[in-house]
């Protein structure tokens, strides 16, 4: 793996320019199943949070970023759509599309698919904020993270906007 020179004190993965990001795989665990015999609503978010870790690793703000006491990332807001059930042992494929970013935040949407059958199981749209470790307050992204976001954003912007993005919850009356 090529290690890029960055302002972060640990090696970072080579940037993946495939859009949407299509690196994250998982399996529905037994402990994620509820009374209804399917993955519980809370555990979809657990699964998506691990896909956020995959994104953060790409951006250089993964586990090492907090381990080295540089910073953290906090989710400010999240919207999930539950499109179809998944069962214990089902293989999952999660893609990630960057929708927007600024100097401190990134707005993105994950899509979870059944990896074998291909159907959409859920989506999760999020805003993630960069946090300074010492002050625990919002702060600008590291230079390398900002360079990577600036590189990825125009590539992801060529994708169609997912219809699950930007939704408001309501009962639509006929």
């Amino acid at each position: 793996m090529v290690r890029a020179m960055t302002d972060l004190p640990y090696p970072i993965e080579t940037l993946d320019l495939v859009a949407p990001l299509d690196r994250h795989r998982a399996t529905v665990l037994k402990e994620w199943i509820d009374w209804n015999g399917h993955m519980n609503v809370g555990y979809y978010i657990v699964a998506f949070d691990k896909a956020t870790d995959t994104l953060c690793n790409q951006l250089g703000v993964g586990w090492e970023y907090t381990r080295d006491k540089i910073g953290m990332t906090f989710v400010l807001e999240a919207h999930a759509t539950y499109d179809r059930e998944v069962k214990e042992g089902d293989p999952l494929r999660i893609t990630t599309q960057i929708l927007d970013h600024d100097s401190k935040r990134v707005h993105y949407i994950h899509a979870m698919y059944h990896a074998d059958e291909g159907y959409l199981a859920a989506t999760n749209e999020l805003i993630l904020m960069n946090i300074d470790y010492a002050s625990r307050r919002a702060a600008s992204w590291p230079d390398e993270t900002m360079r990577r976001l600036d590189t990825l954003a125009p590539i992801h912007a060529k994708l169609p906007r997912p219809k699950q993005a930007g939704r408001v919850i309501a009962i639509r009356k006929k």
Binding site: G42, I45, F48, E77, I127, I169
Partner: protein, 177 residues
């Protein structure tokens, strides 16, 4: 003889006295140690788990708690959820939840949960959700039974007097100055 009770039939268990305090203010919890992540606070994914229990408290009120599932009368699926993360919580923090019924129809519930620190009182998070009633046999959407609809109508009347929560109806985006 149908496998499931008809919609007009009563539920085969005793229902709690309906709590018409609005918002519903019954659910309490504590941040479990295993919910804390490497940032030293409750992990974002666990808020949804915590809110799901608050949703369970609401379901119990309308007659659709655990016994509804165990009796194979039906279930509910969350179709959509929107969470705001307003303040961090540490392991062991006591939690208080309130739930406002924003809207409903024959098959769906539109709920708004608010999570507070149980002692300090600050707002920690909100969760707005859309929930669909599902038939146990077909696993497809189906109307709530009559007794549940009656309870929902009474709650809707009480909850309809509350102002719309400022954090309801949000969509996600980075605001530009």
């Amino acid at each position: 003889m149908p496998d499931t009770l008809l919609n007009e039939e009563p539920l085969p268990y005793e229902l709690p006295e309906l709590d018409l305090v609005a918002p519903l203010d019954r659910h309490r919890s504590v941040v479990k140690d295993e919910w804390v992540d490497w940032n030293g606070h409750m992990n974002m994914a666990r808020y949804m788990e915590a809110f799901d229990y608050a949703s369970g408290a609401f379901h119990t009120q309308i007659g659709m708690g655990r016994r509804y599932i165990d009796n194979k009368l039906g279930m509910t699926f969350v179709l959509e959820a929107h969470i705001t993360y307003d303040r961090e919580l540490r392991g062991g923090a006591p939690l208080r939840f309130t739930t406002q019924l924003l809207d409903h129809d024959a098959k769906r519930l539109h709920l708004f949960h608010t999570m507070y620190h149980g002692e300090e009182g600050f707002l920690a998070s909100t969760c707005e959700s859309m929930i669909m009633h599902i038939d146990a046999k077909t696993r497809k959407s189906s109307p709530f039974r009559k007794v549940v609809q009656e309870r929902l109508a009474k709650m809707a009347q009480a909850h309809g007097k509350l102002p719309k929560p400022p954090k309801s109806g949000r969509l996600i985006g980075i605001p530009r100055r």
